[in-house]
Every structure is written in structure tokens, then in C-alpha cells.
Amino acid sequence: MAELNISERQAGDVTVLDMSGKITIGEGSVALRTAIRRLLEEGKKRILLNLAGVGYIDSSGIGELVSSFTAINKDNGQLKLLNLTQKLQDLLTITKLLTVFDVYENEAEALNSFK
């Protein structure tokens, strides 16, 4: 079983990635990077990461979220986060990245924010 499972769905012009597993150094971080690069190549620049199923992330995974955020912004897109677990929220607080990412607890609200 893959360390990180990512399934993609479309909600209007927003691409939602439902993620479950771990975003850690190696396989998990690479899977996230690959998914984001592919979406950008396909011209999908409005991306919502649903992290409800991500129970574990390390500093490499956090770095990959930052790298994704930067790559998408550079391409005039938007990356937003949905359904952070308490632990992930704690990590983003420690790293002060909650001030960088747009974070939502409600999917409809998150989707509307792209408009």
C-alpha cells in the first residue's frame, strides 16, 4: 500500500486532491510533488488539498506543501488547504505557516473562496 494515497476530483474549475496516509520524506513527499507538477502541466492551477486523511507529516512533507504553494503561486494559481487534523494544524502553528496558507474546515466555503 502506498504511503500517500491521492485521489483527484473536479469541483467546477477547482481541482480537489483527497489525500490519505503520510506525507513524509521519500515516497509521500514525492507523491505530492508529482501530483502538483502534473496538475500544473495540465493547466489546473486552482487546487484544494483535502488533508482530512493525512495523519502524519514531517518537516519534509511541510517543505513539500510550501514548495507546492510557491510553484502554484508562481504559475498564477492558488493552493488552499482543507480539513487539517489537529496535529497538522499544530505543526503549521509551530512553523508559523498558518499565516501563509489559506485554510478551511468546510469544503463549500473553501470552493467559494476561489471565486
Binding site: 513524509t24 520524506i25 521519500g26 514531517d58 518537516s59 519534509s60 511541510i62 517543505g63 513539500e64 510550501v66 514548495s67 504553494f69 510557491t70 496535529k87 505543526l91 509551530i94 512553523t95 508559523k96 505557516l97 499565516t99 501563509v100
Partner: protein, 137 residues
């Protein structure tokens, strides 16, 4: 409770991070420490071993990462040693400074310091870098 010690010597590759984390989780579960503390130790060991493999030993498989685990009535202590050129944590930029927020690395040390009660780095006589981390009960 007596003092229990376990020593591991692992190759310098990325897969070692998960191997070390699994071994430490098993050790910690026997030590009777709380779930919250165990989570913190798990975060810290992953970051320490990642640093040892990537920054210390530069993923050179001729070099090893040595880990010593000690459980006492007062605390769980973990030492991670690499065979690299040495490391000064004070030279790592503050990843929470506004100008560094979008950098992709540098957060591992912050996590180790956040989740453990004591974290010290030193260069032992035989060279390399050792990070010693303590989690009190």
C-alpha cells in the same frame, strides 16, 4: 523500573528513517510513556535521522547512523550519531522568520526542539555529529 538501553546501527539511506522510527516506537511502547510524548519522540527521531542521513552522511551508504535509546524512570533519552563533517545548529536560519517562511527546509530542528524537552548537538572525539534528545516522563 530499571534503565533499559538499545543500540542500533543503520545504513545511510532514506528508508532508514522509517526503520528507525519503527524501532523507536517499539522501544517507547515498552517504556510506558504517554501517547502524546510518544508522538513527540516519533517526530523528533524522524527528523534527527533524516538530518543524519541527508546532511550528516550525505546518503553515503559506507557511513552509518548510530542510535542509542535509553529509558529510565525519569525520561527517555535518544542519541543519534552520524559520521559527517560536523554540524552547528546555530548556523541554521530561523525558519519562522518572515523572510524564511517560504523556504522548503530548516524545520526539522524546530520540530526536534518543540517536541523534546532537551536537545543538544555536539561533536564527539571520534568525529561526526551527535544529537542527544531527552523526553521527561
Amino acid at each position: 523500573m530499571t534503565v533499559e538501553t538499545t543500540e542500533l546501527s543503520l545504513p545511510s539511506r532514506i528508508e532508514t528513517v522509517a526503520v528507525a522510527a519503527a524501532a523507536v516506537a517499539e522501544f517507547v511502547s515498552r517504556s510506558g510513556i504517554s501517547d502524546d510524548a510518544a508522538f513527540g519522540i516519533d517526530m523528533a527521531i524522524r527528523e534527527a535521522v533524516t538530518n543524519a542521513v541527508i546532511h550528516g552522511n550525505s546518503e553515503d551508504e559506507d557511513k552509518v547512523v548510530d542510535i542509542i535509546l535509553k529509558s529510565s524512570p525519569e525520561a527517555v533519552e535518544i542519541s543519534v550519531h552520524d559520521q559527517g563533517a560536523g554540524f552547528n545548529p546555530n548556523e541554521v536560519p530561523d525558519c519562522t522568520a518572515e523572510e524564511n517562511l517560504l523556504k522548503t527546509c530548516g524545520r526539522g530542528i524546530l520540530f526536534m526542539r518543540s517536541f523534546m524537552d532537551e536537545v543538544v548537538w555536539f561533536v564527539p572525539p571520534e568525529g561526526g555529529t551527535t544529537v542527544r534528545m531527552l523526553k521527561r516522563r
